[in-house]
Amino acid sequence: MNRSDYKADARSWLKAYGLALSLFTVEVVLLYLFTVRFS
C-alpha cells in the first residue's frame, strides 16, 4: 500500500468510526426520550 492509498484508507476508517459514534449518540438520545416519555 503506497502513501496515498494509506491516507485514503485511514480517511475511510475515520468516516466509519464517525458513523458508529453518531449511531451511538442517536441511540442514547432515543433512550433518554424513552425515559422522559415513560417515567
Binding site: W13, Y17, A20, L23, F24, V28, L31, F34, F38, S39
Partner: protein, 564 residues
C-alpha cells in the same frame, strides 16, 4: 416440557456442533487451530464477538433484573461503542501487524517475559473462574425449574463444548457461535412477541409501558453523579468504557474472535457491527423483563419465583408462616390488579392519585416477597442464586406454547455453549502459547503445539466443570460475572495502555505497578461499596500512574523499549 420441546431442544443444541465438526474436519496447523483461517468474514466475527460476550446470564438473568430493578442496567453498555472504536483504531492493527496468537505475546514483545506472564496469568485466573460461573449459572436454574439433575446439566453443557472446541479450535468456535447466535436472536424475538401478545387487553401496549414507567421500571438513563448508585450514565460511560476496552482489547476470549478474521478490515467491521447493535439488543432484552413485569400485574405471579426452594421450605415445617404471607400477597395482588385495570378509565387528575396508590401496593408486594425470602432462608433452604434469576424461566415454562419452550431452553444452552467455547479456546491457547511454549518446550514442532493446545483446552474444560460443580453464588448471576471481570480488568488494561501510550516506561516498572494496582483493587473491593464498574478505571489509572512514578524514581536509567 413435553416431547416436542425436548425434540426442538436436542435437535438445536446437537445440530450446530455437528455441522461445525463437519466443516472443520481434517488436520489443522497451529495457525489454523488458534486463529481459524482467512475465510472467516466480518458477519461471522461480529456474531461470534456478540455471542462470546452475551452468554447465558444475559438471556436468563437480565429480564429478571429488569423485572426487579428496571432497565437502568442498559447504561453499563454505554462505554462499549466508544471502547470498540478505540480497539479498532489502536489494538487491532498492532495485533494484526505482529501476527500474534495471544494478546499477551504483545506485552512480551513490548516489555519483557515477566510482564507477558503476569498479563496472561491475570487473564487465566479471572477467565478460569468465569468459565465455571458461565456453566454453573444456567445449570442451577434449569436443574431447579425443569427438574434435571444439577451435575447432569453441568456435564451436558460443559462436556459437549469440550468435545467440539478441542476438536475444531478457533474455526469451529466461530462457525458454531454464528448459528448459535442466530438461534438466540430468533428465540428472543419470538419470546418478546409472545410476551407482548400475552399482555392483558385491558391496557394498550403504550399504556402498559406508561404504567411500568411510573412504577420505576423504564428509567433507561440517569444522569446522577452519586458514585454509590450502581447504574448511571456516567458510571456506564466511563467505567463501562474501561471495562469494555479491557474486555475487547486485552481479554484473549475476545481478541481470538476478531483475530480469526483474514484481514484488518474484516476484524474491524466485525467489531463495529457490535458497536452498532449491542445497546439496542440489550435494551430489547431488558424491555422484555419490563413487559414480563406488566404481564404479572394482571396474572398472579408466584410470591417466590424459585418454586422448588419454596416447596422445600413448605416441607421443612414452615407452611403456616408461608401460607400467612401468601394470603396477604393474594389480597394485595387483587387490589393492585383492580387498580391497574381501572387506570385506562380514570381522568388525568385521578391518574396521579391512582399511580401513587399503585406504587404503595407494589412496595407492599416487594416487602411480602422479601419476607417470604427470609422465611425460605430460615427454613434452611439455600437457593444459591438470586430470586430474580428465576423470573424469566418461570415465565417461559408457564406461559410460552410448547415448542417455543424447547427453543428458549435451547437459547439458554446455546448461549452457555458459545460463551464457554470461546473461553476454553482462549484459556487453552494462552496456556499453550504464553506458558507452555516459552517455558516448557520452546523448540517443538507445530503439530506438537496443536496437540498441547488441545490437551490444555480439555484440561481447562474440566477445571471449569469442576468450579461449576462446587460453586455457590453470592449475588445475582449477571453481577457475579461483571464484578469478577471488573476486579481484574483494570490492571490488565493498564498494562496494555502503558505499552501503547507511555513510550519510556519499562517492563519492570509496569510489572510492579500492576501488582500494586491489583492489590489496591482487592483492598477497595473488600473495604468499600463503590460501584464495581469504577474498579476498571481505578485499576487502570493506578497502573499508569504508579508505572510512571516507578520509572522516574526507581528504574530511571534502565533502557526503555521504543514501542512496537
Amino acid at each position: 416440557m413435553n416431547r416436542l420441546d425436548y425434540f426442538v431442544l436436542i435437535a438445536t443444541i446437537l445440530a450446530i456442533p455437528l455441522y461445525g465438526l463437519w466443516r472443520t474436519r481434517g488436520s489443522a496447523s497451529l495457525g489454523q487451530y488458534l486463529k481459524g483461517d482467512a475465510s472467516i468474514q466480518w458477519a461471522t466475527i461480529g456474531l461470534s464477538v456478540l455471542a462470546t460476550q452475551a452468554g447465558p446470564i444475559t438471556f436468563l438473568s437480565m429480564p429478571g433484573q429488569a423485572y426487579e430493578s428496571g432497565i437502568g442496567f442498559i447504561q453499563n453498555y454505554f462505554g462499549q461503542p466508544l471502547a470498540l472504536i478505540v480497539v479498532c483504531a489502536v489494538f487491532v492493527p498492532i495485533y494484526q501487524r505482529l501476527k500474534v496468537y495471544t494478546a499477551y505475546q504483545y506485552l512480551g514483545e513490548r516489555f519483557d517475559r515477566k510482564t507477558q506472564l503476569l498479563g496472561a496469568f491475570l487473564f487465566l485466573v479471572q477467565r478460569g473462574i468465569a468459565a465455571g460461573i458461565t456453566i454453573y449459572a444456567p445449570a442451577i436454574v434449569l436443574s431447579a425449574m425443569v427438574g434435571w439433575r444439577l451435575n447432569l446439566t453441568i456435564w451436558l453443557a460443559g462436556g459437549l463444548v469440550i468435545i467440539y472446541t478441542v476438536a475444531g479450535g478457533t474455526k469451529i468456535v466461530s462457525i458454531t457461535q454464528r448459528y448459535q447466535m442466530i438461534v438466540i436472536l430468533v428465540g428472543m424475538a419470538i419470546a418478546f412477541a409472545v410476551a407482548v401478545y400475552r399482555l392483558s387487553p385491558d391496557l394498550s401496549f403504550e399504556s402498559a409501558l406508561s404504567v411500568a414507567g411510573k412504577m420505576g421500571k423504564l428509567e433507561a438513563v440517569n444522569f446522577s453523579f452519586d458514585p454509590h448508585k450502581r447504574y448511571t450514565f456516567w458510571s456506564g460511560l466511563i467505567g463501562g468504557f474501561f471495562l469494555a476496552l479491557s474486555y475487547f482489547g486485552a481479554d484473549q476470549s475476545q481478541v481470538q474472535r476478531y483475530l480469526a478474521g483474514g484481514s484488518l478490515k474484516e476484524s474491524r467491521l466485525g467489531l463495529l457491527f457490535n458497536a452498532a447493535v449491542k445497546v439496542p439488543m440489550q435494551f430489547f432484552i431488558l424491555l422484555l423483563g419490563a413487559i414480563v413485569f406488566m404481564f404479572y400485574q394482571f396474572e398472579k405471579p408466584p410470591v417466590y419465583f424459585n418454586q422448588p426452594a419454596y416447596e422445600r421450605a413448605l416441607e421443612n415445617g414452615y407452611a403456616p408462616q408461608l401460607a400467612a404471607l401468601q394470603t396477604q400477597f393474594d389480597e394485595v395482588f387483587t387490589q393492585k390488579r383492580a387498580l391497574v385495570r381501572a387506570l385506562s378509565n380514570v381522568s388525568s387528575d385521578e391518574r396521579g392519585v391512582a399511580m401513587h396508590k399503585l406504587r404503595e401496593l407494589d412496595a407492599q408486594t416487594r416487602d411480602l416477597r422479601d419476607r417470604t425470602k427470609a422465611v425460605v432462608a430460615q427454613a434452611g433452604v439455600d437457593p444459591k442464586s438470586k430470586e430474580s434469576d428465576y423470573v424469566f424461566i418461570t415465565f417461559i415454562l408457564q406461559q410460552m406454547p410448547h415448542g417455543i419452550v424447547g427453543l428458549l431452553i435451547a437459547v439458554i444452552l446455546c448461549a452457555t455453549m458459545s460463551a464457554t467455547a470461546a473461553t476454553l479456546n482462549a484459556l487453552g491457547s494462552t496456556t499453550a502459547i504464553d506458558f507452555y511454549r516459552p517455558l516448557i518446550r520452546p523448540t517443538a514442532s507445530d503439530h506438537h503445539y496443536v496437540v498441547a493446545a488441545k490437551a490444555l483446552t480439555a484440561a481447562w474444560g474440566l477445571v471449569a466443570i469442576g468450579i461449576a460443580s462446587f460453586a455457590s453464588l453470592v449475588e445475582n448471576l449477571i453481577e457475579a460475572g461483571n464484578i469478577l471481570g471488573s476486579i481484574f480488568y483494570g490492571s490488565i488494561l493498564g498494562l496494555f495502555l502503558a505499552a501503547f501510550f507511555i513510550r519510556r516506561v519499562t517492563g519492570s516498572a509496569v510489572f510492579f505497578a500492576a501488582l500494586v494496582a491489583q492489590a489496591l483493587v482487592f483492598v477497595l473491593f473488600a473495604t468499600t461499596n463503590i460501584g464495581y464498574l469504577w474498579y476498571n478505571f481505578i485499576g487502570c489509572a493506578a497502573v499508569l500512574i504508579i508505572a510512571t512514578l516507578l520509572q522516574k524514581a526507581v528504574f530511571r536509567g534502565t533502557e526503555a523499549s521504543s514501542g512496537v
